[in-house]
């Protein structure tokens, strides 16, 4: 197929996506960085055209700068000069895969197609997968504008494919809506087994589908009373044309003026009879009269109740018939509208007496587009990968809510985005989790805990300057570093403000999600590893200290040594740039030493102290294999973790050392850990032989987060854990052992240790700054 737009596109390609807002409808002004990103590399398109919204999906590659570490060639060099770095860092371009989803109102469809046409460089794309009720209406327009053949996909198949995809890949995708809680959203942790479930799609009508496996689903029923009924009947009754306006009316109405309630039929006696007087006996039962006027608001509310209750009732009946207790709701009637989620949830609770759970999806609006995309991409087998929501590129949950102010709506309601990064490696549960379905990584739910939320949001705001500064400093040779850093600041600041307003915007708000969002935003503006230089320097310093530390440890008696090793682990953990208190000290006094850190540590008994139990355990037989999740670069890994590892190895315990796949703060990455281990092996025969004999294995976690989600770990790690029969898990650091996993229950022994480097958190836990957590747990028999 010849591509008529090649010339033009080449022209545009040079200027990137940053320009040519002029080809768009004048009425839309798009922040060009935000919408249709990476269109130049877009490879595959899918479109879902609904009654009012269009969802466009495309697959693209994103070029990222990544910091690579590489060992110097040390051959022929026996001694090192003091300030020579232990390895070299080079910034390279890396291409990663990303899924983009954009949702916009149908009115923009032509302008958007023009924009896409003008920016598309890729000429391999020949087909666009299309789904949704409007797909055939716009078929010609799409084919003409994009010169792509429209391939129609079945709506329901797409919807279900999309639903399976988000349920598997996006943590906190599903939530229940609780009317009286604040906030009203309760997110569900990812259930390892998503099937079977009932999907109730409320479009203009209602479809009820039972989904049994990835490919098997069955239409079990439906109803003609759906969103179209609300809209159509609502328009007739209230002369209000727009769906959102109708919902708006409904949210202000009093249905009891229109509906015949139980108390209207029973009078005051309903109480003595144990009936709820507010139950609706007959929808619109009071409007059967000619001599009364009813307000638009009241009628809209009554209509909303009528339809929601009816759908909820049918859903319950179907759930019961098929013995299912999870019902996901989607479709434009729901689409994030709190008022409809509220009425549907009420109805489900009422009719099922609490036995069926009404679940909603954060990305419900994208299901069709995701599914259509997946249909078209089957040859690439996207389901074999794990995908992660990119917080930087995705809009929050409530962006289309009619209850937000009109100003907010105008900005994000018009164009809503979802971006998902393809993770290079599939992620799975840690096999050692005691009960995967009930595992919740995060210790504190900030959506729930308003006090903690306020503190942490402020904390992250206050730390932002420092992060920006560090980001700029990490790229001294870059001319636009300051400009990009400023954009990062804006972006992350805006995210924080969104989260202040809507803590539920990206699922359960946690310290982890705040940290991850920051990492995503940094990456977005090409600051892949702001700490690379710091880490390099610290690793160099620490490596030079390693022989001395090991020597002094070896002089100690066994019992003394065990405590010293643990103290070393903890002291090393003080060196954490992620924690503000420490970064202040490190900025002002770079020679803050390892010994000094030990002195800073709380004396025993520690805040949480099961050291004696641990020591007792060490007197027993060695563990078979220990899985250690390392935290920081430099002193932590080299002077804290490695001596500890060495001791385990000497005891005859195999060690799997798991480090992050990608950079996060000053956390040691897998590639850094390889170099560090290699360097230590050069100095220490124990580590050397263990590496050679594969008794010490270095693996990656699959994560680039300062925290740790044990339900999303690298598949290779999981396999190794199983293969080696790991019977001890060591998790160190605040991010991994306190913010997350503090309550994680494992089916083997575990050691969680951290130094609380945050005064507020320390106080909350009943301690002080630099309080020590040493939590040794043995699963109950």
């Amino acid at each position: 197929m010849s591509w008529p737009g090649t010339f033009k596109m080449a022209e545009c390609g040079a200027s990137g996506s940053g320009s040519s807002g002029d080809s768009l409808d004048k009425s839309i002004t798009l922040p060009p960085d935000e919408i249709f990103r990476n269109l130049e590399n877009a490879k595959r398109f899918a479109i879902d055209i609904g009654g009012s919204l269009t969802k466009l999906a495309y697959y693209s590659t994103v070029q990222h700068k990544v910091a690579k570490v590489r060992s110097f060639d040390h051959s022929g060099k026996d001694t090192e000069r003091d300030h020579e770095p232990p390895y070299e860092i080079s910034v390279q371009e890396e291409i990663t895969a990303r899924l983009h989803f954009i949702k916009f109102e149908n009115t923009y469809i032509e302008a958007c197609l023009d924009f896409i046409k003008d920016h598309l460089v890729n000429t391999e794309t020949k087909v666009i997968q299309a789904t949704g009720g409007g797909a055939y209406k716009f078929k010609d327009l799409i084919e003409e504008k994009l010169q792509l053949k429209v391939d129609k996909e079945d709506v329901m198949t797409c919807l279900i494919k999309g639903c399976n995809f988000v349920l598997k890949n996006i943590p906190h995708e599903a939530f229940v809506y609780q009317k009286d809680s604040d906030p009203e959203f309760r997110f569900q942790t990812n259930h390892p087994h998503i099937f079977p479930y009932l999907l109730v799609n409320i479009g203009s009508g209602v479809s009820i589908v039972k989904v049994e496996t990835e490919d098997r689903f069955e239409w079990v029923g439906g109803s003609s009373i759906g969103g179209g009924t609300f809209w159509g009947l609502g328009a007739l009754l209230t002369k209000t044309k727009k769906f959102d306006e109708l919902l708006h009316l409904a949210s202000r109405g009093q249905h009891s003026n229109v509906d015949m309630l139980v108390r209207d039929v029973y009078g005051g006696a309903h109480q003595t009879l144990g009936l709820s007087g507010n139950l609706i006996a007959s929808s619109f039962g009071k409007s059967a009269t000619a001599d009364q006027e009813f307000s638009k608001e009241d009628m809209a509310k009554s209509l909303l109740h009528m339809i929601s209750n009816d759908i909820g009732q049918l859903a319950c009946l179907h759930a019961r018939l098929h013995s299912l207790d999870r019902v996901y709701f989607g479709g434009f009637f729901i689409r994030g509208h709190p008022v409809t989620m509220r009425t549907i949830t009420y109805s489900i609770n009422f009719f099922s007496k609490g036995e069926v759970q009404a679940l909603f999806l954060r990305h419900e609006g994208y299901l069709g587009a995701i599914g259509a995309f997946l249909k078209g991409a089957e040859q690439d087998n996207p389901n074999q990968y794990s995908w992660g929501e990119n917080y930087a590129g995705s809009s929050g949950l409530m962006s289309t809510s009619p209850e937000l102010g009109p100003a907010q709506r105008a900005r994000s309601g018009t164009f809503d985005l979802l971006e998902m990064d393809r993770l290079e490696r599939p992620l799975v549960n840690l096999p050692l989790l005691l009960d995967p379905p009930s595992y919740v990584p995060d210790t504190v739910d900030l959506t729930d805990d308003a006090l903690a939320r306020k503190y942490w949001l402020t904390c992250f705001e206050e730390a932002l300057d420092g992060v920006v500064k560090r980001a700029v400093a990490s790229q001294p040779d870059s001319v636009d570093a300051a400009e990009r850093a400023e954009k990062f600041r804006q972006k992350y600041w805006n995210k924080l403000q969104t989260l202040r307003q809507q803590p539920f915007a990206y699922g359960t708000l946690t310290v982890r999600s705040l940290l991850d969002t920051r990492e995503h935003c940094l990456n977005e503006f090409n600051f892949p590893d702001p700490y690379s230089k710091v880490k390099q320097r610290e690793n160099g310093v620490a490596l030079r200290c390693f022989p001395g530390v090991v020597r002094s440890l070896d002089t100690l008696g066994w019992e003394e040594r065990q405590l010293a090793l643990v103290k070393g682990l903890l002291a090393g953990n003080v060196f954490d740039w992620g924690a503000k208190a420490v970064s202040d000290v490190l900025e002002s006094d770079p020679y803050f030493g390892f010994e000094e850190a030990k002195r800073k540590l709380q004396e025993r008994p520690w805040l949480v102290d099961s050291y004696s139990k641990w020591l007792q355990r060490l007197k027993g037989p060695p563990h078979k294999c220990a899985l250690i999740f390392a935290d920081n670069s430099g002193i932590d890994i080299i002077l804290g973790v490695f001596p500890f590892v060495r001791e385990l190895l000497l005891r005859g315990t195999e060690v799997i050392l798991a480090c992050n796949s990608g950079p996060a703060l000053n956390d040691v990455t897998h590639s850094e850990s390889l170099i560090v281990a290699e360097r230590i092996a050069g100095m220490d025969p124990v580590v050397h032989s263990a590496l050679r004999e594969e008794r010490l294995l270095l693996v990656q976690t699959g994560s680039s987060s300062p925290c740790l989600d044990l339900s999303r770990l690298d598949k290779g790690l999981a396999a190794l854990v199983r293969e080696r029969g790991a019977d001890l898990v060591v998790i160190e650091g605040m991010g991994r052992a306190v913010h997350t996993n503090y309550h994680a229950a494992l089916c083997c022994e575990s050691l969680k240790l951290a130094v609380i480097k945050n005064a507020w958190l320390a106080e909350r836990l009943g301690g002080r700054l630099f309080s020590v957590i040493f939590k040794y747990e043995v699963p109950a028999e």
Partner: protein
């Protein structure tokens, strides 16, 4: 589940359908049940249940009714089982053969039916025909010591204070009393007319009940007599009332076997009520008697007469109560058995304004008992229940009688203003499965808003002329044809009122189309919920009742279609002629029951 009336106790009131010559004409009536023995006798003259032998205290006549007259031992067995299952109202049953014997006995004649009506229309009560057959025991009592003042025939009654005080609670002057007869056998009516009222509920008895000028000893004797009386009829007039959210349903039993003496003793306002109700077909602006539903020549509680079906809007309830007050209804000392939410809502008003104490009854109990009763007595010789043959073929679809002899289990869908769905496993074993607020009230309410109509009749008339496919979005409107992936026909409604999302379409449709769409939407939705309930409860017979179906052939056929189509013929939709009146009938039945309750 509400249980307003305490369980236990037997029901030794009796009912019977007199064999009528009318029935003879219907002898050829087809019995619908597939594979059923088409014994003409089953549904034909002479059937019905007659009085239960007295020696069987606690024999449930309702059961007898449910057994189905002239039904074989099979039916009786089943009833026995179901009664055993129902714990709350355990009853003993008469033996089926005895029943059958009684049933076969022809009673009365057709002349009896017609004459009084004519008489009534002339405003004159003819006593002649009604004198025979005399109710056994009636009139041959010896003097009653409690009787304060014997009335000579023709003496003014009912209005004078003395008369009022002397009145007994049935509105008749106290007959001479003889010690209660313990009859071993005989129609229940044998020892009727003992003026006893609610021995169970003495607090319900208005104070002036007992002659106030009587001596304490006299009162005491009277009470003793009342308490000891075992088999009694409630005083006239006999009403059953179902006060719904939109409509009040009233059934009135008009005794046609009033003896000369009774007639003479009948107080004036009781007589005037009878005359008023039976000689009119419309009351005030909004009250209507459904003459076509009248059950003729019915024996209830040992009395023969006609059961009248009257309805008026619930908003007229206050006027009704006012009227009760003006007509001095309370002087009759009748018990007003009422069910439906309004029984609770208006209870206070009844007491305050009209000095009437309502006996409140659970509406679902009443609904089921009323339905089983009416079905058991039949519709003047015709079956009460029917279905639609060939429901999916509009040309061949037609109404056919259905034999509901063995109704269990059934899914009972009561469509009033709202809808209740019950799973009925036996006469007194049932549960409310669910309900929906999208019912008749919704249809009418929406129609009024959308079309400006004012009455149900108007709304239905419009609906009959309209075309809902202009309003609704069909599957083919979305997919261009059938949605094969899910096996949905192109003509199926995908979105009710879905076309009304578009302004042009809103501007181009007629009121009739809107009325039709509203009717279709509500009906299909009820059908769909009912179908799901039937599946969940594993029941294949769905009985639709309630006033939403009144003069509403469109909905009935739609429901019949929906049940059949979506279940691939597994479900059957059944309908009943007295669609909305069962609650009221059930309430009336409770009146008899409570009189006998100890």
């Amino acid at each position: 589940m509400l249980k307003l009336v305490g369980g236990g106790g037997g029901q030794d009131w009796a009912c019977s359908v007199a064999g009528t010559s009318l029935g003879g004409e219907e002898a050829a009536f087809e019995v619908a049940r597939p594979g059923a023995r088409g014994k003409a006798g089953d549904g034909s003259p002479g059937w019905g249940c007659a009085g239960i032998p007295d020696s069987e205290p606690g024999a449930g006549v309702l059961q007898a009714g449910a057994v189905g007259p002239a039904r074989g031992g099979q039916g009786a067995e089943e009833v026995g089982e179901s009664a055993g299952g129902g714990e709350e109202r355990r009853v003993r049953h008469p033996q089926a053969p005895a029943l059958r014997l009684l049933n076969r006995k022809p009673q009365g004649g057709s002349g009896e039916i017609k004459t009084p009506e004519n008489d009534l229309q002339r405003g004159r009560l003819s006593r002649g025909p009604r004198a025979a057959p005399p109710a056994p025991g009636m009139g041959d009592r010896s003097g009653q010591p409690e009787r304060s003042a014997p009335h000579s025939p023709g003496a003014p009654v009912g209005t004078s204070a003395a008369a009022v005080n002397g009145l007994l609670h049935n509105g008749f002057h106290p007959p001479p009393v003889q010690p209660p007869l313990i009859c071993s056998r005989g129609p229940v009516g044998g020892n009727d007319a003992v003026p006893q009222r609610l021995p169970l509920l003495p607090e319900l008895q208005p104070q002036p009940l007992l002659p106030q000028h009587d001596s304490p000893a006299k009162k005491c004797r009277l009470r003793r007599r009342m308490d000891s009386g075992r088999k009694n009829r409630p005083p006239f007039p006999w009403f059953g009332m179902d006060i719904g959210g939109t409509l009040v349903k009233l059934v009135y039993f008009e005794p046609k076997d009033i003896t000369a003496e009774e007639e003479q003793e009948e107080v004036e306002n009781l007589k005037s009520i009878r005359k008023y109700l039976t000689s009119n077909t419309a009351y005030g602006k909004t009250g209507i008697r459904d003459v076509h539903l009248e059950l003729k020549n019915l024996t209830m509680c040992g009395r023969k007469g006609n059961l009248h079906f009257i309805r008026f809007p619930s908003c007229a309830m206050h006027r009704f109560i006012q009227m009760g007050s003006e007509k001095n209804f309370s002087s009759l000392h009748t018990t007003l058995c009422a069910t439906g939410g309004g029984a609770f809502k208006f209870e206070e008003d009844f007491r305050m304004i009209a000095d009437l104490q309502l006996h409140k009854l659970d509406e679902l109990d009443c609904l089921i008992q009323g339905l089983l009763y009416v079905d058991s007595v039949g519709f003047n010789g015709k079956p009460e229940c029917y279905y639609f043959e060939n429901p999916t073929n509009p040309e061949l679809c037609q109404k056919k009688p259905y034999c509901l002899d063995n109704p269990y289990p059934m899914l009972l869908v009561n469509m009033g203003s709202g809808v209740s769905i019950l799973a009925v496993y036996s006469k007194d074993n049932y549960k409310r499965v669910t309900g929906t607020s999208l019912g008749g009230g919704t249809f009418l309410g929406l129609c009024c808003l959308l079309t400006g109509c004012e009455t149900f009749e108007e709304a239905l008339e419009m609906a009959a002329k309209g075309d809902s496919t202009n309003v609704d979005k069909l599957v083919k409107d979305i997919y261009g044809g059938d949605y094969e992936r899910f096996g949905l026909q192109g003509s199926a409604v995908a979105s009710s009122f879905g076309n009304m999302m578009s302004k042009e379409k809103r501007d181009s449709i007629s009121k009739e189309d809107l009325a039709r769409a509203t009717l279709v939407t509500i009906t299909n939705n009820i059908g769909s919920i009912a179908r799901m309930c039937a599946l969940n409860e594993n029941i294949d017979r769905v009985v639709f009742v309630g006033n939403f179906l009144r003069i509403n052939m469109v909905s009935m056929k739609l429901l019949a279609y929906a049940m059949d189509f979506w279940s691939k013929g597994q479900l059957k939709a059944l309908f009943l002629e007295h669609e909305g009146y069962f609650g009221a009938v059930g309430a009336l039945l409770e009146l008899f029951k409570m009189t006998d309750d100890k």
